[in-house]
C-alpha cells in the first residue's frame, strides 16, 4: 500500500472531475470521516494497492500499516483500477461515493433498467430524465426512477443533441453498473 504519486494523482483526479466537477473538493479535501476509533476524525486519502486505487480515511490507513503487503486485500472503498496504459477505470464500487456528489445525472425508465444492468449502453428510448448542459465526454451517474444509483457512464451526445436523436441512438456509454456484482464478482 502506498500513496499515489504525482502522475497517478492527476489521472485519478481528472477522471473524478469528469463525474463530479467542482464537488471534487468534497471528496478530496478535508471531508471529516466518522471512521476510525479516535474521537477526532481525520480526512480521507487515496492509496494504491496492487494497482487498485482505494479511498480510505486516514485513521484506517494508520492501522493498516501493520498488515503486510501480500496479505492486505482491501481498504475502505476501492474506486478504480490503474491500467497498463496509465489511465484509470472507475469501477462500480465507487458508485456510493460518486452518486452523492455527481454533477450530471441520468434517470432511466423502469422498463429499461434491466438492460443497463446487463451491461448494455443506454439508448435514447430508455432515457427518463437528464440534467441540463451536459457536454459530450462528461461522466454521468445513472439512476433509476426511484433514485437508486445504477451505474456510471460517459455521455456520447450533449443534452441538446439527445433531444434530436432517434430512439435507438446511444446516449450514454456504459462504464460500470451494479449488475457487475453478480456478473463479474471475480473480477472486482
Amino acid at each position: 500500500m502506498r500513496p499515489l504519486d504525482e502522475s497517478e494523482t492527476t489521472i485519478v483526479f481528472g477522471k473524478l472531475f469528469k463525474f463530479v466537477g467542482n464537488n471534487l473538493k468534497n471528496i478530496v479535501g478535508q471531508n471529516p470521516s466518522h471512521e476510525g476509533p479516535d474521537s477526532n476524525p481525520g480526512g480521507y486519502c487515496f492509496r494504491l494497492q496492487k494497482n487498485k486505487v482505494y479511498y480510505v480515511s486516514e485513521a484506517l490507513v494508520k492501522r493498516a500499516t501493520t498488515i503486510a503487503r501480500p496479505n492486505l486485500v482491501s481498504l475502505g472503498t476501492c474506486i478504480g483500477k490503474l491500467t497498463h496504459g496509465g489511465s484509470v477505470h472507475l469501477i462500480v464500487q465507487s458508485l456510493n461515493l460518486l452518486a452523492s456528489n455527481a454533477k450530471h445525472k441520468v434517470w432511466l425508465k423502469p422498463t429499461s433498467e434491466m438492460s443497463f444492468l446487463y451491461g448494455n449502453h443506454v439508448l435514447k428510448s430508455a432515457l427518463g430524465r437528464i440534467t441540463e448542459n451536459i457536454a459530450p465526454g462528461d461522466g454521468v451517474v445513472v439512476f433509476s426512477m426511484s433514485d437508486v444509483p445504477l451505474g456510471l457512464g460517459i455521455v456520447a451526445k450533449s443534452t441538446q443533441d439527445c433531444r434530436k436523436l432517434d430512439p435507438n441512438g446511444i446516449v450514454v456509454l456504459h462504464q460500470a453498473d451494479i449488475g457487475g456484482y453478480l456478473r463479474m464478482e471475480d473480477e472486482l
Binding site: E35, P37, T66, L72, L75, V148, L150, D186
Partner: protein, 624 residues
C-alpha cells in the same frame, strides 16, 4: 308365529348391532372417531353381521315365503332354521329334537338359540379384536441375525425400515411395558441406529453422536427437520434503507415476505417470490443481504458499539461483517480476515456492495492475527469458527456421510487455537468492551462446550449472558465430561425447536490481560511441565552455569520490561522462558518468589562477568 318370530328377529338384530358397536368404541377410542370405527374397524364384524343378517334375511325371507304358503311347510322352515344353525357350527342344543315339540316350546328354543348365537358372535368378535391387537404389538420383535443377513443381501426396503424405526421409537418410549423379553435397551438402540443410518443416509459416527445427545423422540424430530430446508431470510442493510421501505419495494416486485421474528428488527423471511431474490436491483444496490436467520445471532450477541475496534476472524462471505458495520453505522474500524483466498472475492464484493467503508480486509491465518494486529489492541472479536457443519445438514447433505471422529477432533483443535488467539487480541481494559463472541454452526459438544471450557481454563475470561434468551442453554455435563457451571449461559439453537440451522453461541468477557499459564501456544497443557521448567530456571540461575542463567535471566528481564509496555509483539516460541509472560501484577506468590532471587542473581552474574572481563584485561596487559 312366523311373523312374531320375524319381528323378534328384527328387534334382536337391531339390539345386537348397537351393543357390539359400543364395544368397538371402547377398544379404538384413542385413534378413531365413532363414525369411522363403524366403517373401518368393524369390517370383519360387519361381515359377520352382514353374514348373519344375510342368513337371517334368508331365514326371514323364507319365513315370509312360508307365511304365504300353507302351514304344512312349517316343519320345512324349522328345518331351514335348524340347518342354518348347524351350519354356523353351533352347539347342537335344541336341534332336531324340537321337531316333535309344540310351537311354544319351539319359540323358546329358537329364542334361546338366537341368544346363544348372539353371545357366540360377540365372543368371536372379541377374540378377533384381541387377535388384531396382539398381532400389532406382538409383531414387533427385533429382527434376528438371520433376518438381518437376509435384509442386507436384498436392496433396502424403505417402508419396512421406516415402520421398524417407528416401532422401535414406540417401544423405547415405554420400555418397561413394551419391550421384548430378554432384549436389552442397547439392542433396540443399535438396531435403531442402523435403520436410521440406512433410511436417512447418515454414516455410523454421526448417528451415534446424535443418539447420544438427544432423547429418542426429539432425535426423530431433529432428523426430520434436517431433511427439509430452512426458510430463506434476508437482512435489511440499515446503512442504506429501512426494513419497512425495503419490504414495500420487494412486495411490489412480487416477493412474499414477512418480518422474521420479534427478536430482530432487520430480518425478513421469504416464503416465495416471482423474481429471483438474489438478483433484484435492490439486492445489487446493496439494500439487503441474503443470510440465514442463525447468522444474525452472533452479531446480535456481540453488540458492537460505535467507534469500536472490531475483528472478524473468519469473515467470508461477509454477511456478519456487514451486519457489524451496519450496527456501528460505518464508524470505528473493522478488521475482516479470511484465510482462504478464493473466498476473499465474495467478501470484498459484499462489503463494497453494502456500502461499508470502515473495513480493512486481510488474508491471514487466524492464528497469526495477534502478531499482526498486536496483543490487547481491539475492543471486540467475533470468531465464527470453521467447524464440521453438523448443524447445517439441511443445506449440505454431504455432511451426513463425510464426517468422522477425526474430523471433529481436528476441528476442535483448530478452534481451541483460534479462540486463544481471539482472546489475546482483545484489550481487557477497553472502555466499551473486552468481549469475544464464539459461534459455530455445529452441534457437537467437542466443538462447542469443550472449546469454551478450554478457554476458561487457559485465559482470564468469564462467560456472560449472550442476550439471546430464546435459545436452549448449553450443556454443563455430557456423558463423562464435566464443564464449568457458567456454561449454561451459552446458547444452542436447533432446527426442530427454533426453525433455524443448528447453532451455538457463547459470549466471553476478558477480565484481565494476564495469562495464567506457561505455554499459550500448546493446547494440551501440563502444569507439571510448567513447574519442571520453573525449577530448571531457578537451578540455572543459581548454579555456576552463569552464561546459561545469564542469557535466560537477561531474556526474562527484557521480557519483563516489554510486558510493562502496553503494545508488544511476543514471539510464540516462548516455550523455554515461559515465566517471562507473567506481568508484574501477578497474584500467585510462587511467581513472586521466583522473580526476586533471579534479579539478585542477575546483578550478581553481571558483576561476576564484569570482574572476569577486568581480570582478563589485566592478564592481557601484563602478558603484553
Amino acid at each position: 308365529m312366523a311373523a312374531t318370530a320375524l319381528s323378534k328377529k328384527k328387534t334382536t338384530k337391531s339390539q345386537k348391532a348397537p351393543p357390539k358397536k359400543k364395544q368397538k368404541n371402547e377398544f379404538f377410542s384413542t385413534k378413531h372417531t365413532a363414525t369411522k370405527e363403524l366403517s373401518d374397524h368393524s369390517d370383519t364384524e360387519d361381515e359377520e353381521i352382514v353374514q348373519n343378517e344375510d342368513s337371517e334375511g334368508d331365514i326371514g325371507g323364507s319365513d315370509s315365503v312360508s307365511e304365504l304358503s300353507s302351514d304344512g311347510d312349517k316343519p320345512f322352515t324349522d328345518d331351514f332354521l335348524q340347518g342354518s344353525e348347524e351350519d354356523e357350527g353351533s352347539k347342537s342344543g335344541s336341534g332336531s329334537d324340537s321337531d316333535s315339540d309344540s310351537d311354544e316350546y319351539d319359540i323358546e328354543k329358537k329364542s334361546r338359540a338366537i341368544d346363544e348365537e348372539r353371545a357366540r358372535e360377540e365372543q368371536e368378535a372379541d377374540e378377533e379384536m384381541q387377535l388384531n391387537i396382539k398381532e400389532e404389538s406382538d409383531e414387533f420383535r427385533l429382527p434376528t441375525k438371520e433376518e438381518l443377513e437376509e435384509e442386507s443381501e436384498r436392496p433396502p426396503d424403505l417402508p419396512s425400515i421406516q415402520r421398524r424405526i417407528k416401532e422401535i421409537v414406540r417401544v423405547l418410549t415405554n420400555f418397561k411395558n413394551l419391550k421384548q423379553e430378554g432384549a436389552p435397551r442397547k439392542d433396540y438402540i443399535e438396531q435403531l441406529k442402523k435403520d436410521l443410518a440406512s433410511y436417512y443416509g447418515y454414516n455410523d459416527f454421526l448417528i451415534g453422536a446424535l443418539v447420544e445427545m438427544f432423547p429418542v423422540v426429539e432425535l426423530m424430530e431433529l432428523i426430520e427437520a434436517f431433511e427439509k430446508p430452512r426458510p430463506m431470510c434476508l437482512r435489511t442493510n440499515t446503512l442504506k434503507t429501512r426494513r419497512r421501505d425495503l419490504a414495500d419495494v420487494l412486495i411490489n416486485r412480487g416477493v412474499n415476505l414477512d418480518p422474521l421474528s420479534k427478536w430482530s428488527k432487520v430480518g425478513l423471511v421469504v416464503y416465495d417470490s416471482q423474481v429471483p431474490i438474489g438478483a433484484t436491483p435492490e439486492y445489487m444496490a446493496g439494500f439487503y443481504m441474503l443470510q440465514s436467520a442463525s447468522s444474525f445471532l452472533p452479531v446480535m450477541a456481540l453488540a458492537p458499539q460505535e467507534k469500536d475496534r472490531v475483528v472478524d476472524m473468519a469473515a467470508a462471505p461477509g454477511g456478519k461483517t456487514t451486519y457489524i458495520a451496519a450496527l456501528m453505522k460505518n464508524s470505528g474500524i473493522i478488521f475482516a480476515n479470511e484465510m482462504k483466498p478464493q473466498r476473499l472475492n465474495s467478501l470484498t464484493a459484499n462489503l463494497h456492495r453494502m456500502g461499508v467503508t470502515n473495513t480493512i480486509v486481510s488474508n491471514y491465518d487466524g492464528k497469526q492475527l495477534p502478531k499482526v494486529l498486536g496483543l490487547n489492541s481491539v475492543d471486540r472479536v467475533l470468531l465464527d469458527a470453521p467447524c464440521s457443519g453438523t448443524g447445517v445438514i439441511s443445506k449440505d447433505e454431504s455432511v451426513k456421510t463425510s464426517k468422522s471422529l477425526e474430523d471433529i477432533q481436528n476441528c476442535a483443535h483448530l478452534q481451541k487455537q483460534l479462540i486463544l488467539a481471539a482472546i489475546d487480541m482483545v484489550d481487557a481494559n477497553s472502555k466499551s468492551g473486552g468481549y469475544i463472541v464464539y459461534s459455530t454452526c455445529s452441534m457437537m459438544v467437542a466443538e462447542n462446550e469443550a472449546v469454551i471450557d478450554y478457554a476458561l481454563k487457559k485465559r482470564d475470561v468469564k462467560l456472560v449472558p449472550c442476550g439471546l434468551d430464546f435459545g436452549c442453554p448449553g450443556f454443563i455435563r455430557f456423558r463423562e465430561q464435566r464443564f464449568h457451571p457458567s456454561l449454561e449461559k451459552t446458547r444452542r439453537f436447533y432446527p426442530h425447536v427454533h426453525n433455524m440451522d443448528g447453532f451455538f453461541v457463547a459470549k466471553l468477557k476478558k477480565m484481565s490481560n494476564k495469562k495464567p499459564n506457561v505455554d499459550p501456544s500448546d493446547p494440551p497443557e501440563n502444569t507439571e511441565e510448567g513447574t519442571r521448567l520453573a525449577e530448571n530456571e531457578e537451578e540455572g540461575t543459581r548454579l555456576a552455569k552463569e552464561e546459561v542463567g545469564l542469557s535466560q535471566s537477561v531474556k526474562e528481564n527484557s521480557k519483563r520490561e516489554r510486558t510493562k509496555l502496553t503494545k508488544e509483539k511476543q514471539d510464540s516460541s516462548d516455550g523455554a522462558t515461559g515465566n517471562g509472560n507473567v506481568e508484574s501484577l501477578s497474584t500467585a506468590s510462587k511467581w513472586k518468589k521466583r522473580k526476586f532471587p533471579s534479579k539478585e542473581d542477575v546483578s550478581k552474574a553481571r558483576e561476576e562477568k564484569r570482574q572476569a572481563l577486568r581480570a582478563e584485561k589485566r592478564k592481557v596487559k601484563s602478558a603484553s
